[in-house]
């Protein structure tokens, strides 16, 4: 297998980029893609958000360039270290290594900071910083976990500096994730994670578009990101009641690799989204046209192209000036959010155990369900059918503050959503009491379903959970013959074959 790995440090942006071009992997990826290409031409290339087209071409180029330098393409990935993704098999820093006069040094003391794959013989060791950066990468020949010592071949004449960084099996987790994603997910979720693969148009609800960095069914508080465990669970269990399948037969290592790839796509999408948002105000086609018009109004000798050139010059000045720092801050903040989601404090954990599921508790839950405080019924309907009054009225888009064209509820992706029909007993985010508690406490992010954690006390949430979990059975008792639970239709008689 031909491999060429080049590592690049770009000083100006204070970040290290590991640029990986793996020919062998490309070929595998291409083969996978070619197979898929049968159903609608899918190129192994990221596409841009549609709304990039509102920008003037110069601004569009900038967005493309930023994405290319920080994320690359599926088959030529750039591993931007700022983003908290487990890219490598393992990574760490060198500890003190004594110089061995005259002899080559082949066993290095290291401190591992991240271990995502078992360290094995034959893996590449890539220099990420220090004096060996840019030199050919050695291969691992041994690893002693207790002594935290890596054996490499060829050995070194001089020890690497203590604190210099390295990666073992560089990029391998993400590459593995990409190959699996192309095989299992891409035809629905799309190459760029835009939820618009070739099969997506046949599905309702639509596959998730990761590019807002938002996920609906997660264990964290309402504004927090989803955790790795949340994504891993979605992949393993699927989303009941939707076309998102369960991938239970994937090995744990494969599941984790896909999770990293999905997170990486989400981060890329978020960077793109925010970049376009930031440039949209001043450098959309519309804004530039009006700037040109007003400049020509105040100075009638100015030609249209000269006025436009001035605006483009402003853009370039901004991009080489203030923008650099803004971008740095924004992306650092974004990365920080993903890191924070992994901290235990981000999890929504009830302070109180579930209150016993008694008729009194359910009755109280029902009262709250109908009350003005929780207002569940305004969306989910009095009997839980998902037909509350809000589904009939025209809502405001929280992002633009404008009315939607059609009545009903919409999610942040602009897709219509119905409040869940609670009589069917199908819960997309899981059916444990804890899952329902979290849905109510933190809301469902990206959807109109609000967070009730501050409005309702723990006991009240549990009462509602007890009530909601009983709705399918209550509904069935009321209308004999109508089924509930996994079965969509009523349970028919057991067939007897003679």
């Amino acid at each position: 297998m031909v491999q060429c790995t080049s590592i690049k440090v770009s000083e100006g942006w204070q970040q290290t980029e590991v640029l990986l071009v793996r020919l062998g992997q490309c070929i595998i990826g291409l083969a996978v893609l070619l197979t898929i290409a049968g159903c609608g031409a899918q190129k192994a290339e990221f596409n841009n958000r549609e709304d990039i087209n509102v920008l003037i071409p110069e601004a569009q180029d900038h967005v493309r360039e930023v994405l290319a330098t920080h994320f690359g393409q599926p088959t030529r990935m750039v591993l931007w270290e700022r983003m908290p993704v487990h890219y490598h098999g393992a990574s760490g820093v060198f500890a003190e290594n004594a110089a061995t006069a005259g002899k080559t040094l082949s066993k290095l003391n290291v401190t591992l900071t991240e271990e995502n794959l078992p360290i094995e013989e034959g893996q590449e060791l890539a220099w990420i910083s220090g004096k060996y950066l840019g030199q050919p990468n050695p291969h691992v020949v041994s690893f002693d976990a207790t002594a935290s010592q890596v054996g490499i071949e060829p050995g070194l004449a001089e020890p690497p500096g203590a604190g210099d960084r390295f990666a073992i099996a560089p990029g391998e987790v993400l590459i593995h994730g990409r190959i699996l994603y192309a095989e299992h997910c891409q035809h629905c979720h799309g190459v760029s994670g835009d939820g618009n693969g070739p099969t997506a148009k046949y599905l309702n609800p639509r596959p998730r578009d990761y590019r807002l960095g938002k996920f609906k069914f997660k264990s964290t508080s309402s504004s927090a990101k989803a955790t790795r465990d949340d994504l891993s669970r979605i992949i393993e269990e699927g989303i009941p009641g939707t076309y998102m399948p369960s991938f239970k037969l994937l090995k744990e290592e494969e599941n984790r690799a896909i999770v990293e790839y999905v997170r990486w796509l989400a981060m890329r999408g978020e960077v793109e989204f925010k970049l376009i948002q930031a440039l949209k105000n001043d450098y959309s086609n519309e804004a530039v046209a009006s700037q040109v018009a007003s400049a020509r109004e105040s100075d009638s000798t100015l030609s249209a192209s000269a006025a436009r050139e001035k605006v483009v010059a402003d853009l370039n000045e901004y991009l080489t000036g203030d923008w650099q720092e803004e971008f740095n801050d924004d992306t650092k903040f974004q990365a920080e959010q993903w890191v924070q989601a992994e901290e235990p404090s981000a999890l929504v954990i009830p302070k109180l155990a579930r209150v016993p599921d008694t008729p009194e508790s359910r009755a109280h839950g029902r009262e709250l369900y109908l009350s003005a405080k929780a207002k569940c019924a305004t969306c989910h309907g009095d009997s839980g059918l998902g037909d509350g009054s809000q589904t009939l009225s025209v809502q405001k888009n929280p992002a633009t503050n404008a009315d939607y064209d059609t009545p009903g509820l919409f999610d942040d992706w602009g897709n219509p959503v119905k409040p869940r029909n609670l009589t069917r007993g199908i819960y997309r985010g899981g059916r444990r009491p804890l899952d329902l508690y979290r849905r109510i406490h933190a809301g469902i992010s990206g959807t109109p379903m609000p967070a009730f954690g501050t409005v309702l006390k723990d006991e009240e949430i549990w009462d509602i959970v007890n009530y909601v979990m009983n709705i399918p059975f209550e509904a069935r008792d009321r209308q004999p013959g109508s089924g509930a639970g996994t079965s969509g239709a009523g349970a028919p008689e057991v067939a007897t074959t003679r």
């Binding site: 399948p245 037969l249 009983n470 639970g485 996994t486 007897t496």
Partner: protein, 275 residues
């Protein structure tokens, strides 16, 4: 002559190259259930009958061609070596009607017991009639959703009801049942027609919308088997690959109890739920 020899050699070698039943947990492709073994016996019996018939007729055909080719085409030699004109021979017609009919009748009668045990409820093993179904498997585009009865306070599985109950437990693409005993499931479909296929156990049964079909089987070994959909049910048909995990009954009960604890988890009362 090359082709028949190549065919025989290939047939001989094929199982060694795994060109046979999927090796499965037995490693040899042998059925992993008692009924499956009997189904295999039927299969081999039919294979032998058809092989003998096929090889026999080919030899007969070869003989006729061979002897025909040896005859001289000189008209003067033809005398006394005229072809035997058999068309319309009553005796021959009777023979080759009755012999295959007898063979088919034999097969039809011989397999009846196995078929009855596999499909006819009255002939199901007494045990599965007594214990009833242990799980309901619902096929859905494109996965298997499985419903188990909950467990009571002593940790014994409850009875599975046709309608979902608050105590029911659920998994996806992960059917777990006791091994070394006949077990029954209910099979349903939520949308289109699917087919429940356990290749190593030789079980294949269509899942038909609107019907609840009882299916029984017995896994002789505690291990993981493949569970597939064998009816092209849509573009995601291939995604319905899942697993059957057969474990000794006590382990299965423990697993069900753990599933119960897991499914009632409220994030707090970790210990209070444990048995």
């Amino acid at each position: 002559m090359v082709w028949p020899i190549a065919a025989v050699v290939l047939c001989w070698l094929a199982p060694g190259w795994n060109w046979w039943f999927p090796a499965g947990p037995s490693g040899t492709g042998a059925a992993m259930s008692p009924l499956g073994e009997r189904i295999d016996d039927l299969f081999y019996m039919i294979l032998i009958i058809t092989t003998v018939t096929f090889v026999g007729t080919q030899i007969g055909l070869g003989y006729v061609l061979f002897t025909g080719a040896r005859r001289s085409d000189q008209p003067e030699d033809a005398e006394g070596e005229k072809a035997w004109f058999s068309h319309g021979s009553h005796n021959l017609e009777v023979v080759w009607s009755i012999v295959p009919a007898a063979v088919l009748l034999f097969i039809a009668l011989y397999q009846m017991e196995v078929w009855a045990e596999y499909r006819v409820q009255d002939a199901f093993p007494k045990q599965v009639i007594r214990t009833g179904p242990l799980a309901e498997v619902t096929a859905r585009q494109f996965e298997w959703r499985i419903r188990y009865p909950g467990v009571d306070a002593e940790g014994n599985p409850l009875e599975l009801k046709p309608d979902p109950q608050p105590t029911d437990l659920y998994t996806v693409n992960d059917l777990r049942l006791p091994s070394s005993q006949p077990v029954m499931i209910w099979l349903r479909s939520e949308d289109v027609q699917h087919s429940f296929f356990l290749p190593e156990l030789r079980v294949k049964q269509d899942a038909v919308p609107g019907l609840v079909i009882p299916v029984w089987f017995e896994a002789i070994k505690s291990t993981e088997y493949s569970m597939l959909c064998a009816e092209l049910c849509g573009w995601g048909h291939y995604k319905m690959k899942s697993r059957l995990v057969a474990t000794p009954e006590d382990e299965w009960r423990v697993w069900l109890q753990e599933l119960q604890v897991e499914q009632n988890y409220d994030g707090v009362s970790d210990e209070s739920n444990d048995e």
